[in-house]
C-alpha cells in the first residue's frame, strides 16, 4: 500500500529548476532511500514533503489524501542541518517542539521521560542545550523528531555527526520504528547504509528522477552477469574458458584461485559442468553491483 506519493512535481526557483517532473511512490512500512549528488534537488523535495515550500505543479498524496497542512502532525522531520535553541533547557525545549506537533503538554512529558530514559540522557532534562555534547544534542533532536509517533519519518543524512556506537544505536531505532509500522524516507550519501536499511530508492540527478525501484530489483537490473568462482589452487580457470565466457580478473592466493568471469546468458550450466567434470568448485556466486556502483554509473552516464 502506498502511503506517500508525488505525481510529476516541479519546482522552479528564480533562475533554476530544482525539480523537474518528479514522481515517487513510498510503500507503507518501508524504508525509502532518497539518493542523489549534492544540489540534485533532494532538499527541495524533502521541503515539499514537509510543506515548508510548495511545488509549482504536480500533486502530492499522503495517506490516501491530497497533502494538506494538518498532515504535519503525522510527519516527523530530522533535517541535515540540525539545531536547537542553545539557551533553552533540554526538557522544556522538547516539550515545546512536541506541542508544535500537536501533542498535549502532559502527554509530551510522559513520552519524553520514556525516551530520555531509553537514550540514557534523563539527567540532562534541566540542562541548557549549549552544555550538551554534539552527540547528545543529536539524540535530543532525534527524540523530538519521533515523539509524536508520526506515520512518515524523514531523515536527512541522519548518521552524520554520530560516532559509530551512536550511529548503530540510531540505525537500530530506525529499523525498530519500521517494524512498528512507520514509513521512513531516508536521504543520504552513505551507500552502505542504503544497502543496510533501504527497501527501495529513488535516485535524483540534476532535478530529474533517473532511477527508482526496490533495491533488490534494481540490483538485478544492473547486474552484469559477472560471477565469482573459487577453485583449488592447482587448477587454472583459463583451461575451462570457452567462447561466451570472459575472464575479467584472476587472483591466486595461498590456497585458492579466485576468478571473476563474465558469462553470457544461458552459458552458466555449460561452464559449471565443464569444470565439474575435472575438479570441484569450492564456491560459485553471482556478483551483484553495489548501490555505490549503481549510483556512480547512473549519475556519470547522465
Amino acid at each position: 500500500m502506498t502511503i506517500f506519493s508525488t505525481n510529476n512535481i516541479s519546482k522552479t526557483y528564480a533562475n533554476h529548476k530544482a525539480l523537474d517532473q518528479v514522481s515517487i511512490n513510498v510503500e507503507k512500512g518501508s524504508v525509502f532511500g532518497l539518493l542523489g549528488p549534492n544540489g540534485a534537488g533532494k532538499t527541495t523535495l524533502i521541503r515539499i514533503i514537509n510543506q515548508i515550500t510548495a511545488p509549482d505543479e504536480g500533486e502530492i498524496y499522503f495517506m490516501g489524501e491530497k497533502l494538506r497542512s494538518e498532515h504535519v502532525h503525522h510527519i516527523g522531520y530530522l533535517p541535515e542541518e540540525r539545531g536547537l535553541y542553545k539557551k533553552m533547557k533540554v526538557g522544556e525545549q522538547a516539550i515545546y517542539l512536541a506541542e508544535l506537533k500537536g501533542i498535549k503538554k502532559a502527554d509530551a512529558k510522559k513520552r519524553l521521560e520514556y525516551w530520555f530514559n531509553k537514550f540514557d540522557i534523563y539527567s540532562w532534562w534541566n540542562r541548557k542545550v549549549e552544555e550538551l555534547s554534539k552527540g547528545m544534542q543529536q539524540k535530543v533532536q532525534f527524540i523530538t523528531t519521533i515523539l509524536h509517533e508520526p506515520e512518515l519519518l524523514i531523515f536527512d543524512e541522519p548518521f552524520s555527526g554520530f560516532d559509530p556506537i551512536n550511529a548503530n544505536l540510531l540505525k537500530e531505532e530506525i529499523l525498530e520504528l519500521k517494524n512498528n509500522g512507520a514509513t521512513i524516507i531516508f536521504s543520504t550519501h552513505n551507500m552502505e547504509s542504503v544497502e543496510a536499511i533501504c527497501d527501495s530508492i529513488a535516485l535524483i540527478n540534476k532535478s530529474k528522477k533517473i532511477l527508482d525501484g526496490r533495491v533488490d530489483e534494481i540490483k538485478q537490473r544492473f547486474k552484469k552477469n559477472e560471477f565469482e568462482i573459487i577453485l583449488s589452487k592447482e587448477n587454472n580457470i583459463s583451461d575451462y574458458i570457452f567462447d561466451g565466457v570472459e575472464l575479467i580478473k584472476k587472483n591466486t592466493d595461498l590456497n585458492f584461485q579466485v576468478s571473476t568471469l563474465k558469462i553470457e546468458k544461458g552459458r552458466n550450466a555449460d561452464l559449471l559442468s565443464k569444470i565439474l567434470q575435472k575438479t570441484d568448485i569450492i564456491s560459485y556466486k553471482e556478483i551483484l553491483p553495489t548501490m555505490n556502483e549503481i549510483f556512480i554509473d547512473t549519475v556519470s552516464n547522465e
Binding site: 514537509n50 510543506q51 515548508i52 515550500t53 510548495a54 504535519v72 533535517p79 539545531g83 533553552m88 515545546y96
Partner: protein, 449 residues
C-alpha cells in the same frame, strides 16, 4: 492552544523571565529620570561662566575719570563676566595663561560712534551663544547711546523702552485655559522619544531572535510544524507584548513615585495662585506674578501643565502609534533578521530601515518648533516616520482629518510590510551560507512558496 499561541507563549515568557527584563524594569525609569534630572542640576550649579576681558582703545580720560562708549557698560550674567583692561599685549598674555576665556578688543576707528573694529580672541572656540550674547550687548549699548544722546531719552524711559512689560498670555482656543507650550513640548519630546526607543529596542529583538533561529538551524524544524508566517507573527506579537508589559510596569512605578513625591512635597502639586486682570472690561485669569523664576514654581508649572493636557486623546494616540509603529518596524526588522547569516552582513540590510527612524529624530526640533509646518505635516503622514512625528505634534493639537489620514496610511502600510516581510522571511530563513544581495531578494518576489 493554537500554534501561534504556543509560539507567543514561549517567546513571551522566555523574555519576561530573563534577569535583564527585571533589571530594565526597575532601572529604566531611573535611567530616563536621570537623563532629565542630571542636565537640570548641571545647569543649576554650573560654574562655567566665561570671563571676558574687554580692552577698549577708545577710552578717554578726563578729569581722572575714564570713560568711553563701552567702558563699564557690559552687563554680567549667568554665562559671561566682563572685566576691563587697557593693554592688548598684556591681555593676550593673560588669555594664554588662562586667566580669561576671551578677549574683546575694541579698536579705535574714525567712526563716531565707534561701530566697527571689534576683535574677539579666545583660546577655545567660543560658544555660539556667548558670541551672540556679546554682539547683542554691543548693539544694545550702541542703541542706548543713540537714544540717550541723539534723541534725548532719559534713563527711566530707556529702561521701559528696553524692557516693556507685555501682558502675553498663551491660551488654549478650546478650553480657554493656559496653553503651557513648554509642557506640551516636553510631552511631545517624551512621547516621540519613547516610541523611537521602543521601536529600536524591541524591533532589534525581533531581528536578533529571527536570525538566531536561522543560524542555529532550528527554524527548519519549526517550519515543518508551523507556517513561517505564524512563526514570524507569533514572535512579533510576543515581543510587542513584552514591550507593553515593560511600559505598564514603568507607568505603575512612575505613579508610585509621583504618589510618593506628593506626600513628601505637597506644595509642588498645589494649584498656582490666580489673579484676575481686567482688559477692556474682560476679566482674564492668569497666574499670579510672583517669583516665577524660582525653581519650585517652575516645577509647579510643569506639574500644572501636565494636568492641563487632553490626555484621552494623547493616550489613545500614543497607544495607537506605539503599537502600529512597533508592528511596522518589527515586520521589517524580522525580514532583515531572515537575511542575516552568522552576523556578517547585517549592516547593509539594517541601514535602510534605521534611516527613517533617525530622520524622524533629527527632524524633531523642526517639528517641535513648528508643529503644523510642512516638515511636520509630511513626516507625520509618511508611515515610516509618522509614529514618532505625529506623537510629537499631538500635544499641540492636530486637525482630525490629518490624524485620520495618518492612521489610515500607517495601517495600509503595515499590511503591505507584513506581506513583504513574510515573503522575504520564508525564503530567507532557509538560505544558508549564501551572501544574499538585494538583486536576489527582488527575485524572490517572482516565485511563489
Amino acid at each position: 492552544m493554537s500554534k501561534t499561541g504556543i509560539i507567543i507563549r514561549r517567546e513571551y515568557f522566555i523574555r519576561v523571565k530573563k534577569k535583564s527584563f527585571l533589571v530594565m524594569t526597575f532601572l529604566g525609569p531611573i535611567l530616563i529620570a536621570s537623563l532629565w534630572i542630571i542636565p537640570f542640576f548641571l545647569a543649576l550649579n554650573s560654574d562655567n561662566q566665561s570671563k571676558v576681558l574687554v580692552v577698549d582703545e577708545t577710552i578717554m580720560e578726563k578729569d581722572g575719570v575714564k570713560s568711553s562708549l563701552y567702558f563699564n557698560k557690559f552687563k554680567n550674567d549667568k554665562e559671561l563676566i566682563f572685566e576691563y583692561g587697557y593693554d592688548i599685549k598684556e591681555a593676550q598674555d593673560k588669555l594664554n595663561k588662562g586667566d580669561y576665556d576671551a578677549v574683546l578688543e575694541i579698536v579705535s576707528t574714525n567712526d563716531m560712534p565707534p561701530i566697527k573694529g571689534f576683535l574677539f580672541y579666545s583660546e577655545n572656540e567660543p560658544s555660539l551663544t556667548a558670541q551672540e550674547a556679546i554682539q547683542s550687548q554691543l548693539s544694545n549699548i550702541l542703541k542706548d547711546h543713540v537714544l540717550k544722546y541723539d534723541y534725548g531719552m532719559n534713563e527711566k524711559d530707556l529702561e521701559w523702552f528696553n524692557n516693556p512689560k507685555i501682558g502675553f498670555y498663551s491660551k488654549d482656543i478650546r478650553s480657554g485655559k493656559d496653553s503651557y507650550k513648554e509642557i506640551k513640548t516636553f510631552l511631545a519630546i517624551i512621547a516621540g522619544i519613547c516610541i523611537y526607543m521602543f521601536i529600536f529596542m524591541f524591533g532589534a529583538q525581533v531581528m536578533k531572535s529571527v536570525s538566531e533561529e536561522k543560524t542555529s538551524r532550528i527554524v527548519e524544524v519549526l517550519v515543518s510544524s508551523i507556517k513561517p508566517v505564524q512563526l514570524l507573527m507569533g514572535k512579533i506579537v510576543a515581543v510587542g507584548l513584552v514591550g507593553l508589559t515593560q511600559l505598564v510596569l514603568w507607568l505603575v512605578l512612575s505613579v508610585v513615585l509621583i504618589g510618593g513625591l506628593r506626600t513628601v512635597s505637597p506644595q509642588t502639586f498645589s494649584e498656582p495662585q490666580k489673579e484676575n486682570i481686567t482688559i477692556n472690561e474682560r476679566v482674564i485669569s492668569v497666574d499670579k506674578v510672583g517669583d516665577m523664576t524660582s525653581d519650585s514654581s517652575q516645577v509647579n508649572q510643569v506639574v500644572q501643565g501636565l494636568f492641563s493636557i487632553d490626555y484621552t486623546l494623547v493616550i489613545l494616540m500614543f497607544v495607537f502609534y506605539f503599537i502600529t509603529g512597533y508592528l511596522l518596524y518589527a515586520a521589517l526588522f524580522g525580514a532583515v533578521g531572515a537575511l542575516i547569516d552568522v552576523d556578517t552582513d547585517a549592516q547593509q540590510f539594517t541601514l535602510p530601515i534605521t534611516i527613517p527612524l533617525i530622520i524622524a529624530m533629527v527632524c524633531f526640533p523642526i517639528v517641535i518648533n513648528s508643529p503644523s509646518g510642512g516638515v511636520a505635516f509630511w513626516l507625520s503622514m509618511i508611515p515610516l516616520t509618522s509614529p514618532m512625528v505625529m506623537m510629537m505634534r499631538i500635544p499641540f493639537g492636530v486637525p482630525i482629518w490629518e490624524i485620520a489620514t495618518s492612521m489610515g496610511l500607517i495601517i495600509l502600510f503595515i499590511i503591505f510590510c507584513m506581506w513583504f516581510a513574510a515573503k522575504i522571511y520564508r525564503t530567507g530563513i532557509l538560505m544558508y551560507g549564501k551572501n544574499i544581495t538585494y538583486k536576489e531578494i527582488w527575485k524572490w518576489f517572482k516565485y511563489n512558496n
